[in-house]
Symmetry: C2
Subunit: 148 residues, 2 copies
DNA sequence: CAAATACTATACTTTTATGTATAGTATTTG
DNA sequence: CAAATACTATACATAAAAGTATAGTATTTG
């Protein structure tokens, strides 16, 4: 089970925006330098976040990126979804099928494991906001218990 | 967040052993054919599981692999650990550091997210056994609530 | 005891994810 | 209005994971 590079760096970028209190846009060179990424790579990540509606791009000379809504209203789930597929995504079975048809077709024990696990994690990721993360208060276990 | 191929197929193999009620060893060709994997690839996976003490190898003409202990005593966590690193593993920071030193050295918000998340998931993975999975009863949420 | 059949180890190929380079488009501001 | 500086898109290079091939070692059993 692995966090992808895109998720890792993308989340770091979002935390950068959550921490930036000036309303001014952060430019790509700024993001790049603060996160130690190359400018085009930072651009690629920001494009993903923009596409998901988490940040807005401001073009032109005094442009940059601004966060699209308050950090309190951005769930961790939204961010990770923007940066990659859920780990039991739509293409999971297809991906791990080596014949024309999956050998577990119709009776997939491992599938039901991932589905349960995925739903479970979703509940957590849905509850925790970017603001929680930025403030260092991410009581994940509490997040789930509170719901039930 | 991604399940690696090794984890996916390795877990499937363990489920195969959990479901096999004859005490007889399963040979590599058998595992290979039942899971739709090549023999050497199946061998590679089984070697990992063996190294972790989850299965035992029986060499020789009537050999194969047998499960090392009852499925009730094997936690999902043990299986996933055998097949790869936890997603916030020892080398996480090193891996996602692009300079000589991480730009977040000493003040790593994203790190504390993953640590919390990792511990949280561990609690679940520790509670769910291979037997639970095989029987289709993997009440993950219940597993955590029961603990607290 | 030797042939059959099992597991084991290692080198190699292929695929996929990462990250870079480059050229281009849009908008501001002097 | 044009130069500066921002974002954007796409093709390419590199690194890591996935999977294969092959040769080898260990036991059983006729």
């Amino acid at each position: 089970m692995k966090v992808t590079a895109t998720e890792e760096y993308g989340l770091r970028c979002m935390l950068l925006f959550a921490a930036s209190d000036s309303g001014l846009p952060l430019t790509l060179p700024e993001v790049s330098s603060k996160e130690g990424l190359s400018i085009p790579y930072a651009g690629k990540l920001m494009a993903l976040l923009k596409q998901a509606g988490l940040v807005k791009a401001v073009r032109g000379r005094s442009g940059g990126y601004v966060i699209a809504k308050p950090a309190e209203e951005i769930a961790l789930k939204e961010i990770l979804n923007a940066l990659g597929e859920s780990f039991y995504g739509q293409h999971h079975c297809e991906r791990y099928t080596r014949k024309e048809k999956c050998v577990h077709e119709g009776d997939c024990t491992v599938g039901s494991v991932w589905i349960a696990f995925d739903r479970f994690i979703d509940q957590v990721l849905q509850k925790v906001t970017l603001a929680d993360l930025a403030s260092g208060k991410c009581d994940l276990l509490g997040a789930v218990e509170a719901k039930q």
